[in-house]
């Protein structure tokens, strides 16, 4: 019986953004996100005082899932962030830092929230038009004729996650593996509608990263009691395959928790076993070489099949059913009682053992160019392996997104600096007319534009954590990092690697007010940028960030029900 207690009145907060506690919490979250941003970002460790799983990461998804937020406004932002990263797998930290800085700057500049919301909406539309247009200086087309841009994109994703602890050679290897797996998953020679394949990821702990590789086809754990000799006896492929989706364990548990009434003289388990053996006989008669089941296979049936030189794979699991069916063309049989129809059989081109470091796996090769591949990732310990697996899956997702929009944005903070210069340049001359059209004063409009611009630059600034100076050049609008201690003659490049330093390139510090200029559009440059960001992800992050900031700025009253 629940205790009956008097209902407590709700906690009301008027004008939450003027409340200092809430502002402190916003600043704290922004610090957490900005210190984790970029390749030199600091890792965050989340653990419970009383024990439990310790998480070390700098990825926004993992961080926000574990961070419990009591403030409803911040929870809103966190939920929106998590939704974005589920869809696009990138630019989560960018979105978080931009949203929170916009809110802080609006308060700092003393803008009226309704004015700020209108101006931000206008500015983000200008950004959209600029980024989607043809003469955008921060957009790079992704060429599918060569895999340089794809590898650069994958490499940028890996480099931005320092928790993977990879050195540069390992990073290069992993980025090319990701690109390889992505290219394997694109189907060719398929009739009808083309459908993406899949990359199954397997993690092996305790090995060096150099042992990671990509294999075509599917890799499975070697079934017990399968020796190399058995495979040799099978000969060369193709081998006939049958796939069962139901449990072949011979127990009647799928009926559920009901009372069973059994007639005299009947033994249901024995009857079921007879039926299973009948299935085995039919499989042997139809010359099946590989017998696979999603769930458990009865030991008597396994023994019978092994005696007749059939390879038995049990406990495949739901996750591997679809790739298996795609590779072999087999249709999962769902019934124990009827004969397996001829169309349900599949074919496998080859079966062999593969060595991954010290672990042996069974490889199934497809006979029909199915776009399935397996990526085996190795790393020294569990934390780094988890981070690496997550990063590789996200990098592959980002590569898939480029098929829809074949562009990438310059990384290393150069897109943000270019956008900021473009926005301030575009609005400088048209300020009076735009302000009048929006129904606000000229000075308010200029302040709101300045707030937007400085929020964009704040994101670019948070890439630097080692106390170096961030500069912007006054010709192309790219971001530069001045390393005063560097003595070498190495050519200095901008944040994305597209531009090389010249003596006549005038630069100024990022967080100072500088005269507005229009960034020069670089046509037909010979060099390729080394750091790239996903176009769709960043564009969506920009839009959702402004929308969430507008939403939070719009909230004037919070009612918290504490019952």
């Amino acid at each position: 019986m629940s205790r009956i207690s008097k209902k407590k009145p709700a906690l009301c907060t008027d004008e939450p953004l003027s409340n200092s506690t809430i502002c402190q919490k916003i600043t704290l979250l922004r610090n957490i996100l900005s210190t984790a941003y970029g390749p030199t970002g600091r890792l965050k460790q989340i653990h419970n005082n009383v024990g439990g799983h310790v998480l070390t990461t700098s990825t926004s998804t993992a961080l926000l899932k574990r961070l419990e937020m009591s403030e409803p406004l911040l929870k809103l932002i966190s939920t929106a962030l998590q939704h974005h990263t589920t869809r696009y797998s990138d630019s989560g930290l960018f979105m978080g830092i931009f949203t929170l800085t916009l809110i802080e700057n609006t308060k700092k500049y003393g803008l009226r929230t309704s004015t700020a919301i209108k101006v931000y909406k206008h500015l983000v539309e200008q950004c959209n038009v600029y980024l989607k247009g043809d003469s955008c200086g921060c957009k790079v087309p992704v060429e599918f004729s060569s895999c340089d841009s794809l590898v650069a994109l994958a490499r940028s994703m890996i480099t931005s996650k320092p928790a993977c602890m990879l050195d540069s050679r390992e990073m290069q290897q992993i980025s090319s593996l990701i690109t390889q797996a992505f290219l394997y998953s694109i189907p060719c020679n398929s009739s009808g509608t083309a459908c993406f394949g899949r990359t199954v990821t397997i993690g092996i702990e305790g090995q060096s990263v150099n042992h990671s590789s990509v294999f075509p086809g599917l890799l499975l754990d070697v079934p017990e009691m399968l020796l190399p000799g058995d495979l040799e006896r099978l000969g060369d492929g193709p081998f006939k395959v049958v796939l069962f989706g139901v449990s072949l364990s011979g127990d009647i548990s799928e009926v559920g928790d009901v009372a069973l009434e059994v007639h005299r003289g009947l033994n249901p388990e024995r009857d079921l076993l007879q039926q299973l053996l009948k299935i085995g006989e039919q499989a042997v008669k139809d010359k099946v070489s590989l017998f696979a089941c999603q769930k458990v296979v009865h030991p008597v049936l396994q023994h019978y099949l092994r005696e007749h030189e059939v390879v038995v794979i049990e406990r495949l699991g739901l996750a591997l059913m679809e790739p298996f069916a795609k590779i072999t063309g087999a249709r999962a049989v769902a019934s124990l009682f009827s004969l397996v129809p001829m169309e349900a059989y599949g074919l496998v081109a080859g079966l062999c053992f593969q060595d991954c470091g010290s672990k042996k796996l069974l490889q199934l090769l497809s006979s029909k160019h199915a776009a399935i591949s397996t990526m085996v990732l190795c790393h020294r310990n569990e934390t780094m392996l988890e981070e690496l697996k997550m990063t590789c899956q996200r990098a592959e997702h980002v590569l898939r997104l480029t098929l829809r929009e074949p562009y990438a944005l310059l990384g290393g903070g150069c897109t943000e600096t270019q956008l900021a210069t473009h926005i301030s340049h575009m609005n400088q001359s048209t300020a009076p007319t735009t302000a009048a059209a929006l129904g606000i004063s000229h000075s308010e409009f200029l302040m709101a534009v300045e707030s937007f611009r400085s929020s964009l630059l704040a994101v670019a600034l948070s890439l630097e954590h080692d106390g170096q100076d961030c500069l912007i050049d006054l010709t192309y609008g790219h971001r530069w990092v001045m390393d005063i201690s560097s003595q070498t003659e190495v050519k200095h490049t901008c944040g994305c690697g597209l531009l090389e330093d010249r003596s006549n390139l005038e630069k100024t510090h990022l967080n100072t007010a500088c005269q507005t200029f229009s960034p020069v559009f670089l046509e037909n440059s010979d060099t390729q940028p080394k750091v790239l960001d996903s176009f769709s992800a960043k564009l969506n992050a920009l839009n959702v960030a402004v929308e969430m900031a507008s939403l939070v700025l719009d909230v004037k009253y919070i009612i918290k029900d504490v019952n």
Partner: protein, 402 residues
């Protein structure tokens, strides 16, 4: 139980209304903000709709609860003006309290207050209507009569946009207004306005889909019916399609207190019953099966073998809607056959859905928002705008004789 006796003075009335006023005041007008309401369960609600916001407050004082009841009654009959109600009420009470000073008295005495109350009632009953009809309405009617040639289109647009601007932030109001008008015009075609609005209003639950994680600008109107489930078994289909609507599973449904009896030949009997049912379906030549529950594996296998598309776990409201709108040949409950124009796969921001083309002009409104709280607000506002337009349209239609 102790009964608490409280002498209710004018001062108490004003102070009771104070918190209500402070909440409502923040969300009034075009520059107003929204109110965020959260529960310990994590549920969030963002709204600037007066009635919704006030109903979330847990009010202890009986007078406050009485005022809330009045607000709800007012909202039920008019659909609007709840915030103005509270603000006008508190302003009136404060003015009455302050006017005691004008009469050089410390406060109003009870008989004097009663007298005042009677006179106010007499004013509202006898004179207020006259003032509004003769002094205020002429301004509104002169505006409407200028647009009498495009009465239908613009009036509805104004109704919808007026409703929305008062209830969502400026950023979303533009987008929502545009999308709701588009939704209305696409669903209309040959019917008249009243029929269309009442159709949309009564079937709104079925005619909208929610997608979280995308900006509000990605909302759109899609032809046909959208089911937020992916096809379990998919084949390419063309032309008019026969679809079977199922409300129960083909496998034996086992409930509690059932005894399963194993008899002779139990193995073969289990399968033959399902097989018979499936064979019968093949005879009917259905290409698509729409089921409200999860079907067992054997049905999926049968569907794959026979090139039948299967959609499981469809909302039963949507299935009812399909059946009602299509005048089906009813086989025997719980099975119905409906005709569909086409079946497609749809991608809504990362979510895989099914799109069913139906032989009526219904369209689906896809509403997107970055956060679930905002999504609830967007859906509520859209639904309310249809209600509000229906009420507003009816009164306009009879007043201006359309």
């Amino acid at each position: 139980m102790q009964q608490q006796l409280e002498c209710v003075s004018l001062q108490v009335c004003v102070s009771v209304l104070g918190p209500l006023e402070s909440v409502v005041r923040r969300c009034l007008g075009p520059e107003g903000g929204s109110v965020l309401f959260t529960r310990d369960t994590g549920e969030t609600l963002i709204s600037r709709h007066g009635q919704r916001v006030l109903s979330t407050l847990h009010l202890e004082h009986p007078m406050a609860r009485m005022v809330l009841d009045c607000v709800c009654a007012h909202a039920k009959s008019t659909g609007d003006g709840t915030k103005s109600f509270i603000l006008l009420l508190s302003a009136l009470l404060r003015a009455i309290q302050d006017s005691a000073h004008m009469r050089r008295k410390a406060s109003w005495s009870n008989p004097a207050l009663q007298n005042l109350a009677n006179r106010l009632m007499a004013l509202s009953r006898n004179e207020l209507d006259d003032i509004i009809i003769h002094q205020v309405t002429p301004y509104a009617s002169s505006y409407c009569s200028h647009h009498s040639d495009k009465l239908e289109h613009s009036i509805l647009d104004y109704l919808i946009s007026g409703y929305i601007s008062g209830r969502t932030g400026a950023g979303q109001a533009e987008i929502l207004k545009h999308i709701l008008c588009e939704f209305y015009y696409k669903s209309k075609r040959d019917q008249n306005t009243t029929e269309t609005i009442s159709f949309i209003h009564s079937h709104f639950n079925v005619l909208h889909t929610r997608v979280a994680g995308l900006p509000v600008g990605c909302s759109e109107v899609i032809e046909g019916l959208v089911v937020t489930r992916d096809w379990s078994v998919w084949t390419e289909l063309r032309g008019p399609i026969k679809a079977l609507v199922l409300y129960e599973s083909f496998g034996s449904s086992l409930g509690d207190n059932i005894t399963v009896c194993f008899q002779q030949d139990w193995l073969s009997r289990t399968e033959s019953i399902t097989k018979q049912k499936l064979a019968y379906l093949l005879e009917l030549q259905v290409n698509v099966v729409l089921s409200s529950v999860k079907q067992p594996e054997c049905v999926l296998q049968w569907a794959r073998m026979n090139h039948v598309a299967l959609l499981e776990c469809v909302d039963s409201d949507q299935l009812d809607f399909l059946c009602n709108i299509n005048f089906p040949e009813t086989l025997s409950h719980p099975q119905h056959i409906v005709m569909l124009k086409y079946c497609k796969r749809l991608q809504l921001g990362g979510l895989r859905c099914a799109q069913l083309g139906i032989y009526s002009n219904a369209h689906t409104l896809v509403l997107c928002a970055p956060a679930p709280g905002l999504l609830d607000q967007t859906v509520c506002v859209s639904r309310g705008s249809m209600e509000g337009s229906y009420a507003g349209w009816r009164s306009f239609a009879c007043r201006w004789c359309v």
